[in-house]
Amino acid sequence: MFAYILRKLLYMPLILFGVILLTFTLFYMVASPDALAKLRLGEKATRMQVLDWQASQGYIEWEDAGLAKKKDIQRMSTADAKLVEFKEGTDYTRSSWVGLFGKYVKSVLLLDFGKDRTDKPVSERLWEGLGPSLSLTLPAFFIAELVGVFFGLFAAMYKMTRIDYSIVISSILVMSINGIALIMFGQKFLAADWAYFPVHGYDTGLAAARFLILPICLYVLVTIGEKVRFNRIVMLDETDQDYVRTARAKGLDENKVLFKHVLRNSLIPLITRWTVAIASLYVGSLVLESFFGIPGLGSLTIDAIANNDVAVVRAIVVLGAVSFMFANLMSDVLYAVVDPRVRLE
């Protein structure tokens, strides 16, 4: 197993390099240095400001002749200055892609993702958003999984009975309602109209609980249908196995058959799903955080996309890719732990 993990770990730098290359290409193509400058300086920024900003960020370098010309332009009136055409290669040179990529690789490796649109280091923003996100998604995820496994197991145990039908129909019903609609209804009736919960907001410590209960309940409600159906199918596969019949024939009570034998053997597909889901928990819940004002990473991501905050989006994408790499490794290891037949060679 150790050799396997080591080999996987050694692959990671290569995959990471691929991720960095991909994100670099993607983000530098989507947001050109010109557009980035305008986003930063505002639409009303002049050409001189755009070029000065790009020079300060390393996108371009002024040539000597360019500098001299630039000086002359500064002495002209604004209108005349704007009439002067800048031609690439004469007044300034664009920095090479290789150089920019080198800087980008270095910054990612040092976890220095630059600054967000409010001039705050992105790493600080990520760190600050982590707590609120996890305080929502961790309990919500565990409750949803627990309830999902419980109902899935129960449906499998009483397959083709009224209990099974009720569970399946309820699951389909919940799945058919749009998640955002559920959230909006929940917020309107439970929070705004009936005032059981606050409509919007967040706090620190225990005071956060009253803001988190409703989003957690809604998370469970929105995701439970799919989880129950998936778990039921997985459990049904197991309940038809010979060992289950043998266990029952031995006289084991149904609870032991279910919770000790069936549940354990159903874990492999569940682990696959959990590891992938856990890897993305830190990003929080994009919609719930935005609707309920939880200042986590999900809300930050939506904010960054809406405001074209490229540095934040880039950091989230890179971190997402890295956490998935580790999640994959983790799931491989866990397979071996829960199933002795799996050998990591």
């Binding site: 505002g42 500064q74 002495r75 009136s77 409010t118 001039d119 305080s135 609707f291």
Partner: protein, 687 residues
């Protein structure tokens, strides 16, 4: 022994739950949040005004703030030499940090400003002798907590602030003084070169501020003169934007790049804390000078009588809650937790009657509607360099542009797409501004489908069809005329608008192809000039028509603000003359109005834009929010929070709500029943 083992096992079973609970508590407790100063839980908030913003500000540094949200936040803490009179309409400037109106010498183009003698910066660490020459991160939290009294504002601060606006490579507002102040642009040239990526290595850049600028002269502690290079009648308006705010050099150097979240100003409020994505809380600045609510005997100002003469700011605390989604913002408003709210399309339908009046239900809740025209324009600009619709296409291009301008049913657009929140635009200058003509509407922009088709026929196009289905073919190519329109958003409302434009095109036989894209892509395409037409808008910065007319001034072509690349010698000549006329001087105002009329006529002939609408704002307010009673807000001012007042008794009544018992009980039963039933089943299995 067995019992002990069972007990240990049970305890162990609880351990994960215990760990999860502890971890969860740690996560919520350890949330760092609060940028800037930490929230003071023990402070008495006093009279609190709750407001909402849809996003965090980009910056609370007045020299970087370029967007509406950021400017509003800067207005809480920073002040400029002048401010807009709260009660005067049309908008009028009055002294703020300045003691009086400036002295202006037209021969030397020099303004001389005299400062008030009673303005102090708020207390802050940056004024502490121990903090001199240090970067804030080099000091401990304990050291930083030890503040020093803010010092008096001097003319040096005004000089420094002008220079800083110029010297920051990411200054959001240098454009307002670019090329205007003698020597400042050349000084900036050197300054920008000295700026490094790291504030700790910016020593040379900081020192360079000691170098003199020809046009900025500090005469004494209270007087400064600013010499312009050319007449600039909009200068006072320009420096009343947040970019003209006075900042202390000590703070800018001590906080460096984090000055944006550690504002130190002379304004009515001080930042208590800024928790990104959650809230920004401002508290009264105890050192704010004695400024009082203005007095007025005008009958129209009668409603302000109870506040007149009261010391500003009127509220002790202002909380800006960051609420991104429109539903929670609206629900919080209805619950009385926020003083005012905008409305999205659905909320508008919910709150308004078909006659655009507030429904009785809302009126009974003590909610009031306020609607007013915003100084903005929405338009579609054609790329005048395009070979098919621009100048190179000659008469054919002009016919296409004109046909599209005739084909747009603005009334229908405003009714269907904007819920009536707009006024159709037939000229460039919005209503209420000098240069707007109530009796003028560009003939080229009148909705007339038959005329649109006739214009195309006259230019040699073959127009065939009937009803809403027409085809316009260019005989030279044998192909249908197609116009590609670029949009700056991919939202659903933009998609609906794109369909509207498609239908508009079908009625005159022009195929309108819409490209929806992200804002950065849109900007890049606009700068590159690779679109045929751009759906655009402009929010005026100050109440002078020059701010709007510059959008079609030839030298402002891309990457400047003239996205149409429109170039007309006649228009440029008229603009040059108009832009230096002072609308406050009656004779000059008369000439200015005449020039604007002529410019409108030139545009009517060339049709570089399809004018769409002037936006109207519809907002809802609670009666207990005082400005709700006022229908004429000044859309240019961003320093108004000091005048805002809430009736504490009335607002408290709205926020008290009782939860009904039965809905909650039923929901609880529905949620718990399956769990109870299954628990019982498991128990039964075991037994």
């Amino acid at each position: 022994m067995k019992r002990l083992r069972t007990g240990a096992r049970r305890l162990f079973a609880f351990l994960p739950a215990l760990l999860v609970t502890t971890g969860w508590l740690a996560l919520t407790t350890a949330t760092p949040g609060c940028g800037g100063q930490a929230a003071d839980e023990t402070r008495d908030a006093g009279l609190v005004l709750n407001w909402t913003e849809s996003a965090d500000p980009r910056s609370i540094d007045p020299h970087k703030a370029g967007d509406v949200v950021s400017s509003g936040q800067c207005g809480m803490v920073y002040e400029c030499l002048y401010q807009y009179d709260y009660l005067a309409r049309p908008a009028k400037l009055i002294p703020c940090l300045a003691e009086s109106d400036p002295e202006y010498d037209p021969d030397t183009l020099t303004y001389t400003f005299t400062l008030r003698d009673d303005v102090y910066f708020q207390d802050d660490r940056c004024f502490h002798p121990d903090a001199a020459g240090k970067y804030f991160e080099d000091e401990s939290a304990t050291q930083r907590a030890e503040k020093a009294p803010g010092r008096k504002l001097t003319a040096r601060d005004i000089e420094y602030s002008f220079k800083r606006l110029a010297a920051l490579p990411d200054s959001g507002g240098f454009w307002v003084i670019e090329g205007k102040i003698a020597g400042l642009d050349a000084w900036r040239e050197q300054a920008v070169k000295l700026k490094t990526d790291d504030w700790k290595t910016d020593g040379d850049w900081f020192e360079f501020f000691d170098t003199a600028v020809e046009g900025l002269k500090v005469l004494d502690d209270r007087r400064i003169s600013v010499t312009l290079r050319e007449p600039y009648p909009q200068f006072l308006y320009a420096i009343t934007l947040s970019y003209g705010a006075a900042v202390p050099r000590e703070a800018a150097e001590y906080y460096g790049d984090q000055f944006t979240r550690n504002p130190v100003g002379t304004g009515p409020y001080m930042l208590d804390h800024w928790w990104e994505q959650k809230e920004i809380v401002w508290v009264r600045n105890p050192k704010f000078r004695e400024e009082k609510f203005p007095q007025s005997d005008d009958p129209k100002d009668e409603l302000w009588k109870p506040l007149m003469g009261k010391r500003l700011p009127l509220c002790d605390t202002v909380v800006f809650r960051i609420i991104k989604e429109s539903q929670p913002a609206f629900l919080e408003f209805l619950a009385g937790n926020i003083a005012a709210s905008g409305m999205d399309k659905d909320q508008f339908t919910q709150a308004m009657t078909p006659q655009s009046e507030l429904t009785d239900e809302y009126k009974q809740k003590g909610i009031r509607l306020r609607s007013y025209a915003e100084p903005t324009i929405h338009y579609i600009s054609f790329n005048m360099n395009d070979p098919f619709v621009g100048t190179p296409a000659g008469e054919k291009g002009r016919a296409i542009r004109r046909a599209m301008a005739h084909a747009l049913n603005r009334d229908d657009y405003i009714r269907r797409m904007q819920n009536g929140r707009g006024e159709k635009a037939g000229q460039l200058v919005p209503p209420g501004m000098v240069g707007h003509f109530d009796d003028y509407y560009m003939p080229s922009q009148r909705y007339d489908l038959e005329k649109a088709r006739q214009v195309l026929r006259d230019a040699g196009f073959e127009v065939t069809g009937s009803g809403d289905e027409w085809t316009t073919v260019d005989p030279a190519t044998g192909k249908q005329v197609t116009v590609n329109v670029l949009h700056r958003s991919t939202r659903d409302s933009t998609k609906d608008y794109a369909v509207f434009l498609n239908n508009m095109g079908r009625r005159i036989g022009i195929k309108v192809e819409n490209e929806l894209m992200t804002f950065p892509e849109f900007l890049a395409r606009q700068d590159e000039g690779t679109g045929q037409a751009y759906d655009a808008g402009w929010v005026m910065d100050y109440p002078d028509a020059q701010n709007m007319m510059q959008l079609l001034y030839g030298p402002n072509k891309p990457p400047g603000i003239n996205s149409a690349s429109y170039a007309s010698e006649e228009y440029d000549r008229l603009y040059k003359e108009m832009s230096v006329l002072d609308q406050e001087v009656p004779e000059q105002q008369k000439r200015k109005i005449e020039l604007i009329r002529q410019m409108n006529e030139v545009l009517d002939r060339d049709v570089p834009w399809v004018l769409v609408e002037f936006r109207k704002i519809f907002s809802l307010y609670h009666q207990w929010f005082y400005p709700a009673k006022w229908d004429e807000p000044n859309a240019f001012a961003y320093t108004y929070f000091k005048f805002f007042y809430v009736d504490p008794g009335a607002s408290a009544n709205v926020t008290e709500r009782e939860s009904p018992f039965w809905p909650g009980f039923i929901l609880l039963v529905v949620a718990l029943t399956p769990a109870v039933l299954m628990g019982w089943k498991i128990y039964k299995n075991q037994s």
